[in-house]
């Protein structure tokens, strides 16, 4: 439970508050206490002075009975004054409100007397602050405040008629008044209690408030994030986080949603690549296997057909067999063509021309189905690299699909073309790479996402082996042949001649590790960081060229649209909604062609509103 952010935050805040409030109340109580005592001491001194003055005349007249009476009355008047006594110079108690004490002596080394008699020589003047002392008569009793008030020998004293005190004496005795501090102590105790209660209440309130807001601003969105990551972990990429706050967690949630979207797109593409590759192998295998038995059927049936010249009825039947076997041959051929729609023929094409050619083929169909064609072609687009035939096939297929989607009801078909620009980072494929001595580093055998990788010999602190770098600039799906420690600096060499491709003198901008340099023939140098798992790469030659141009073709119809559950599957081989009419290969072939052109195809659709296919083709083949 204390692992949770909320508990930790509340803990930290409570402790901090406790310390702050604690220290504050400590000083507060102390200063209150001091102020109170000063008042008590001041009052005590005043009282002591008043007693002394009221006894002055009685002492001059040596009226001892009067003195007793005053001391007794004040000394036993109540809670405040506990005891009043007068000591003579030798420490003998002459008067006391406590009659038992009279005549007894006080030791001069007693702490009561210490203030004046520290050095065996009595002080002649005692400052007011030093006259007081606090003590306890018994350990469990209330605290007492004792005030010593020296009685000085004044002119009136040594000139009095009794001549008891000679002029030479400075101090005649001491008036000692003892006050009980019970009330003062109780007040202090009360105020301390109040402080503690206030501190506890404020800490509690503070914690509750923090807890409430942490729950609202942190816990809840974090919980949603955790749930979302769990969903991603089990493969569900279609349920975004609903939290839409404007704070950091809101931004995190937004970027998380964005990441999920990208992941899901990538998964579809990857899945597709994978499926196409395995389907290609399957198709090739199937074609090979089926063609052998088909040869048996076709040769024998055509052989029989030739021999059945005199039997027209049999001939007719055999003709059916030959015709249908030939049809099977065409189907298998289609399957084979699908499996090896591998490398497009390199060339230049004007996409607008390609579109126009495709439309020319199908224009009759458009008219037959009452479809209005809207061409919004940008005349200024540059030629794109690629196989015009294959792209024409793509456009044609998409248009045919649109016609099917609009059925007999008619509608509008819109075809647009335009030029767009995208940054090369994460897109551009490296097709050639050499070491400083000119040895080829491209590895046709080891492919990353179907593209030849860049092979380098790598040495870690403990091991050596090969690394295959991702040929897509800035994508970093490298394949590491050996294990590295986290943030280890990797040593890289040409696998052919063993020369180091690391430039120790130059360090990466981001992480400060040495960089590797790979020569891209005629296209500058690819510079990357040698720190393991550090993803920085720079290719100035390409970066300086800025954004790469693509031709975007959009084909929109106003047809029946594609439902949510089907839209993710439409590029899958053998997926068809046309029933017996289609093979389900059309869109997957299209996907393969665009993929082979280093392009992208995507689809958007709303049921009963229409569908839009978007194709992006690079203008330059080297992208």
């Amino acid at each position: 439970m204390f692992q949770k952010i909320r508990a930790k935050l509340i803990g930290v805040i409570a402790i901090t508050a406790m310390i702050i409030v604690g220290v504050f109340s400590y000083y507060q109580t102390n200063s209150e206490k001091e102020a109170l005592f000063n008042i008590v001491k001041y009052n005590g001194n005043q009282l002591s002075e008043i007693i002394k003055m009221s006894l002055h005349n009685h002492m001059l007249q040596n009226q001892r009975e009067r003195i007793y009476e005053v001391i007794n009355r004040i000394g036993n008047s109540g809670e405040g004054v506990k005891k009043i006594r007068i000591l003579n110079k030798s420490g003998e108690v002459i008067y006391s409100s406590n009659a038992d004490e009279i005549g007894s002596s006080v030791d001069m080394k007693d702490e009561n007397c210490y203030a004046c008699h520290a050095e065996n020589k009595p002080l002649e003047k005692l400052p007011i602050l030093n006259r007081t002392r606090i003590f306890k008569t018994e350990t469990d009793s209330s605290r007492m405040l004792g005030i010593i008030n020296p009685i000085y020998n004044e002119k009136s004293c040594y000139e009095a008629d009794c001549h008891v005190h000679p002029k030479s004496k400075k101090v005649l005795g001491v008036l000692d008044v003892t006050f009980c501090l019970k009330i003062a102590d109780e007040t202090i105790e009360k105020s301390r209690l109040t402080n503690i209660v206030l501190a506890v209440v404020s800490i509690l309130a503070f914690s509750l408030l923090i807890g409430f807001f942490v729950e609202r601003w942190v816990d809840k969105p974090v919980r949603e994030l955790v749930e979302a990551t769990n969903r991603v972990a089990i493969g569900n990429l279609n349920q975004p986080i609903k939290y839409d706050g404007k704070d950091e967690l809101g931004i995190l949630a937004k970027s998380f949603n964005n990441m999920m979207k990208k992941l899901s797109e990538m998964r579809v593409q990857l899945f597709q690549s994978d499926k196409m590759a395995s389907l290609g192998r399957l198709a090739a295998g199937v074609a090979h296997e089926i063609n052998n038995p088909l040869t048996g059927v076709l040769t024998y049936s055509s052989f029989l057909l030739k021999r059945a010249k005199d039997n027209p009825e049999l001939q007719k039947d055999l003709e059916v067999i030959v015709r249908e076997t030939k049809r099977s041959r065409e189907i298998v051929k289609g399957l084979l063509d699908f499996s090896r729609q591998s490398t497009p023929k390199e060339g230049k094409m004007n996409v607008n021309e390609v579109i126009s050619n495709a439309i020319a083929v199908i224009s009759n169909q458009l008219k037959l189905h009452n479809i209005t064609l809207k061409k919004e072609l940008d005349d200024d687009i540059p030629d794109a690299a690629g196989d015009a035939n294959q792209i024409q096939q793509v456009v044609l297929n998409l248009v045919v699909n649109s016609i099917d989607a609009m059925g007999g009801k008619g509608g509008t078909l819109t075809i647009t073309s335009e030029k767009i620009s995208l940054v090369p980072y994460g897109v551009k494929q490296i097709k050639q790479a050499t070491c400083p001595k000119g040895h080829n580093l491209m590895d046709e055998e080891h492919k990353i996402d179907g593209m030849p990788s860049i092979k380098l010999k790598a040495k870690s602190s403990t091991n050596e082996g090969f690394i295959h770098l991702d040929p897509i600039y800035g994508r970093h799906r490298h394949h590491y042949g050996i294990q590295f420690k986290e943030h280890e600096i990797v040593k890289l060499f040409c696998p052919v001649c063993g020369i180091s491709v690391v430039d120790e003198k130059e360090t990466g901008e981001q992480c400060g590790a040495p960089v590797y340099k790979i020569i891209i023939p005629n296209q500058g140098t690819l510079v990357g960081c040698t720190k393991y798992a550090c993803n920085c790469q720079k290719w100035d030659y390409i970066d300086s060229k800025g954004k790469q141009d693509y031709i975007k073709i959009k084909i929109s119809d106003t047809g029946c649209g594609i439902s949510e559950e089907n839209i993710n599957r439409i590029f899958e081989p053998f997926f068809s909604t046309k029933g017996q009419k289609g093979t389900g290969l059309g869109l997957s072939i299209i996907w393969g062609i665009i993929d082979n052109h280093n392009g992208k195809i995507s689809v958007e659709s709303k049921v009963n509103e229409g569908t839009t296919f978007t194709v992006q083709l690079p203008v330059n083949a080297q992208v």
Binding site: A287, T295, F303, K306, D337, G347, D387
Partner: protein, 271 residues
Amino acid sequence: MADKTNKYDILVIDDEAVIIEAVKRIATGEGFKVDSSLSAKEALGKLLETEYKLIITDIMMPEMDGFQLLEELEKRKLKIPVIVTTGYSTVEMAVKSLAKGAIGYIPKPFTLDELLSIIYRGLEFEKIDKKIAKEQFNVTDASIIYVPCPPKYYRLGYNSWINIDNEGSVFVGVSDMYLKTIKTLKSLTLRNFEDNIVQGAICATFEAEDGLIHHLLSPVSGMIIEPNDKLKEDITLIEKDPYFEGWLYRIIPSDLDFELKNLVSCSSDRI
């Protein structure tokens, strides 16, 4: 070779028995003597003791494939014409077969007529080859029997040729040896203007006097910018002058640099 006691017309090599049976049935029906082998290794053994006029081989077989057989035959200097067939019937396979020395390529599944056409062509090839060997002509003298392709031309097997002109367009035609093997030409079906042809795929169809239909595989890919219209008026032009006046198409090649790798330079034939 003459001292070999066993003599057959055709040796069929395929790991599928049904193919062997089918070819045997058709070929023996025409009166040919046919031997067979289920593997290329076994076939190579047979070649030591037996004389064959023509070999028909599959490509994808365990242990040794059809291409390796072609290489082995060339290594052993056995000049038996080979026809290649495969179930993996792609244009790449066709191009590779002809580039490696096969005289013909027939994709599976084939009909009786398609098979017979190529067998007759193969056997005719063998006859011409033997004639040259018998009379011990050197290559230039052999032109009495057939005209080899001119220097600076490129050829796909012995089927078709190209000649790159100065403007970047390419002339495509049929080799004299091919024409000789189909004997007398009766009619010719050409593709049209702006049609695309693909290396290794059929680009023209010839019908011979004997009724057999022969398909010519294109040496390069590209778009036809000019079919030779003169051939419509005078079909004999193609036989009289197959390398110059008898060209078939002028095309704009789409991937010449890459496709040239599969072609043989006619200049090197003459060394």
